[in-house]
């Protein structure tokens, strides 16, 4: 709830002060308070506010992840946004509003709230993506996202309507009880869920709904790309998991086939298209498509262990992605984005620590030991094999090798002999954030036991 008040307060503050540093500081402050407040809610859960909200440990966990990611994005945005000309303070307001939308998704127990959350999130994202008004690509990306997101919302709404026709309720838990125990879904319900899946698929950038991703990632300011890749996707994923597990979609033959197909396609197409990319942001976009493909394997495991695996994966994926995009945004200036792989030539010899964080992030995306990504991938493969999803697991293995190839290409560039490019000076906060990210990647990779313990203890649905 604190996140909700923060933007309002900031708006007032802005109208009085209009000082970049103050707004920045206040956003961080409010996110920190919001995060701290999470610990105070824990004793009073599960708590549901009928009929819209449900606040259980699961949603609290996601709230925590979302807030932390938003916080890291805020920290990483500082230098980048500061260089923009014109109004800049609104950026943080919009960022907080969209975080509010994401948080709503995490606690949603009703289609209305689900839709509300998604719209809040998307509409503020349009603005954030197109925030650099002087740049053509940025506007293009914004409009692209606007159109695609509207279409996907339409699908989502239609799906909700179909399900409402079938059950006469829009509350998740009521739908579950309406489904009963017979396990058989009628054609109407299945098409309803399929429609919703299309809408969600757009948001998560799953193949075949992925076309917008590379352009938007490329056009948007780098911190915003990071935000889309983490907060936005994580929030939508949290609803998807809750919904899918509630209706026990994995028991339904058609949904099973559809999800498997989407997962396999996302992995292969994401990874294969990433191979030829020369632009690091596009490369990361395709890699995120593939990563979402790995993640939805979990939907089919149908066990609460699977959910635990997905939570771990999301956490590690968030940290990793924030690391990668963080490096990109720190090395970018408002005038020139450091987006060509060539720009990173010899980075290791010029800025060793930044390059180390970048390398760790890429290795983690590739799933190499000592990094968080390895344990996360292991967790998913582990649960996948336990559930007997051999085809999916093998596709994931094949894709890990394909993925490795393009991550290696970037890493090789980092370590090749130095190029001529000049690099911007780095601020203290940026360095600090990257250091935190780098260290967490290592900690999760070497000693993941404690986090797994926490997840296993708390997360059930």
């Amino acid at each position: 709830m604190i996140i909700a008040t923060a933007p309002v307060v900031i708006m007032i503050v802005v109208s009085i002060l209009r000082n970049y540093e103050v707004v920045y500081g206040f956003s961080i402050f409010s996110l920190l308070i919001a995060f701290a407040s999470i610990f105070f809610i824990v004793p009073s859960v599960p708590h549901s506010i009928e009929p819209l909200f449900i606040i259980d440990i699961y949603s609290i966990f996601f709230l925590g992840i979302i807030i932390i990611s938003a916080l890291l994005v805020t920290l990483l945005s500082y230098d980048y946004i500061k260089q923009l000309e014109g109004v800049r303070e609104e950026y943080y307001i919009i960022l907080l509003i969209s975080t509010l939308g994401a948080s709503l998704l995490a606690v949603a127990n009703h289609f209305i709230l689900f839709f509300l959350g998604i719209e809040t999130l998307s509409i503020s994202l349009y603005i954030m993506i197109a925030f650099q008004r002087s740049k053509g690509t940025s506007i293009e990306a914004g409009i692209k996202y606007l159109i695609i997101a509207s279409v996907s919302s339409a699908f989502l709404l239609f799906g909700m309507a179909l399900i409402y026709t079938a059950f006469g309720t829009m509350q998740f838990s009521a739908i579950v009880s309406a489904l009963g125990n017979n396990g058989q879904l009628s054609a109407l319900v299945i098409s309803g869920f399929a429609m919703m899946l299309v809408g969600i698929g757009f948001k998560l950038a799953l193949v075949p709904f992925h076309m917008w991703t590379p352009d938007v990632y490329q056009g948007a300011p780098s911190p915003v790309s990071a935000y889309i890749a983490t907060v936005s996707k994580g929030a939508v994923m949290s609803v998807l998991i809750r919904l899918f597990f509630n209706i026990r979609g994995f028991e339904n033959y058609y949904l099973f086939i559809i999800i498997s197909g989407i997962a396999i396609l996302s992995m292969f197409i994401g990874n294969l298209l990433a191979i030829r990319q020369q632009n690091i942001k596009r490369l990361l976009a395709y890699s995120s498509i593939a990563n979402m493909g790995y993640l939805i394997i979990i939907l089919l495991t149908g066990s609460s262990k699977g959910i635990q695996a997905s939570v771990f994966y999301l956490i590690s994926y968030f940290i990793t992605t924030l690391g990668a995009f963080g490096v990109v945004s720190l090395l970018s200036t408002a005038r020139s984005e450091a987006e060509n792989i060539e720009d990173y030539k010899g980075l290791f010899w010029k800025r060793p620590w930044i390059a180390v964080v970048f390398t760790l992030s890429l290795l983690s995306l590739a799933g190499i030991p000592v990094t968080a990504g390895f344990i996360a991938k292991f967790y998913i493969i582990f649960e996948g094999m336990k559930a007997g999803l051999m085809v999916l697991v093998f596709s994931m293995i094949i894709n890990s090798v394909i993925g490795l190839y393009y991550y290696l290409r970037v890493i090789t560039t980092l370590f090749s002999t130095a190029g001529e490019t000049s690099l911007p000076e780095l601020s203290l906060t940026g360095n600090f954030t990257l250091a935190v990210i780098g260290v967490s990647i290592l900690i999760l990779g070497i000693y993941p036991g404690w986090l797994i313990d926490i997840i296993v203890k708390f997360i059930t649905l």
Partner: protein, 516 residues
Amino acid sequence: MILVYLIVILLTGAFLAWIAGKWNPIWPRIISLAALFIDLIIIISYISQRIQPDNKWLVDIKFEWIPEFGISLHLALDGLSLVLLLLTIFLGIISVIISWKEINSKVGFFHFNLLLILAGITGVFLSLDLFLFYFFWELMLVPMYFMIGIWGHKNRTAASNKFFLYTQASGLLMFISILAFYFIHGHTTGVYTFDYLQLLGTVMPASTSMLIMLGFLAAFLVKLPVVPLHNWLPDAHTEAPTAGSLILAALLLKTGAYGLFRFIIPLFPSASVTFAPIGMLLGVVGILYGAKLAFAQTDFKRLVAYTSVSHMGFVILGVFSFNELAWQGVVMQMIAHGISTGALFILVGQLYERIHTRDLNNMGGLWEKAPVMGAFVLIFSMASLGLPGLGNFIAELLILIGAFKTNILMSCLASLGLIASTIYSLRIVQKVFLGNRNTEWEIIDLNIREKIVAALMVIVIVWLGLFPKPVFDIAKPAILKTLDSQKVDIPPFPVSVNNEVSGKNLFLFSQKQVKN
């Protein structure tokens, strides 16, 4: 605890070396040497210990790591790992010394990678938890990738990518197998664990066992390498800096052989026997094909790389012969090959530093200019062709005798490899040091540092050739243990397996051969 220290010392050394490299390039070298010497002392202190009859391991420690999945930090040392660790640390020291002048750029980061690889290899030789094993298995890849990719020769990028992708792809297959094994064990016993000792003796249907074993084999055979999967090796060896080639040839390949011993045979007692004829065939093909390709090379370093393929053929032939004699030979071959081929790589590197070419056609008649170097190359070429009195001879002879008991045809074919190796080894000496002077090179003979390194390696190889008994003694309990695991429900094997040659006879026998 001491086993953990072995790895921790190397890791700490790695980071210190990296940081210290900022100030003065001499520091990383000294720090690396210091870390390696501490490890060496620790390991030597274990040599005198003997395994108690009731305990199969010299040291055995276990901590929880990720209890949720049954993953533990389980390290243990037995004779086999001890011998290989000794080799690892010894060659580690050698690689620091030979890089003293060769590596001039990014010295700190070089030693960071070097020590990290050695830590990974040490971990591989000590892990008794399959997850931990995989962890270390992958850990040694990344720094090796950097080593080839940053300090290598002209085509380094392609070579390092190829190396990484080959090993990573096969490693993932092994990973799937490990997980499958884990679940099968869990389903049958209710205990979900990655612990090697508990996984031993898991009962499963023959076809499943075969599939899972193939996953493990993929990783080990790529690393070894066995012929259809050897494609990464010549490139990686040729493009790597000298220390990189040394570690690749002498240590990384051995992790594959070690894996066969430690994991394939005990975990899959019957499936491995079923696979044995194919394994032996792969070995023979490797021996002959590697030798043939070695003969055809014009690049000196590539030639040496192909001899590795040939020599590793003996290892897999021996492993799948299933008797003590052959296995003692395999252990010996791992060490002897590590020393002899490693030394050849070092000498090739030193030659390259002087004349900046590796093309055999440009060399010739170098003996007059550099007699000491020529003599060393001659010695190690002789070792490589299996001259009695040097370590490789004992190894290959034992493997051939062992294989002969199991499969006469394969053994006979494999012994043709000895002839082939004679041809290519003599060709090295002929092309480089004798014969016509194709180009007039200004060449300085080996300096003191290089002489010491080469002399050390000569001492070791001669010692292995004349007094192999200590190695056999240390490795024997481990081998007998592996052989024991084999006795569990063996299906009738096509050709009789003879385990009766006792250790004592074996040594008398081998030493007699040497004296002859």
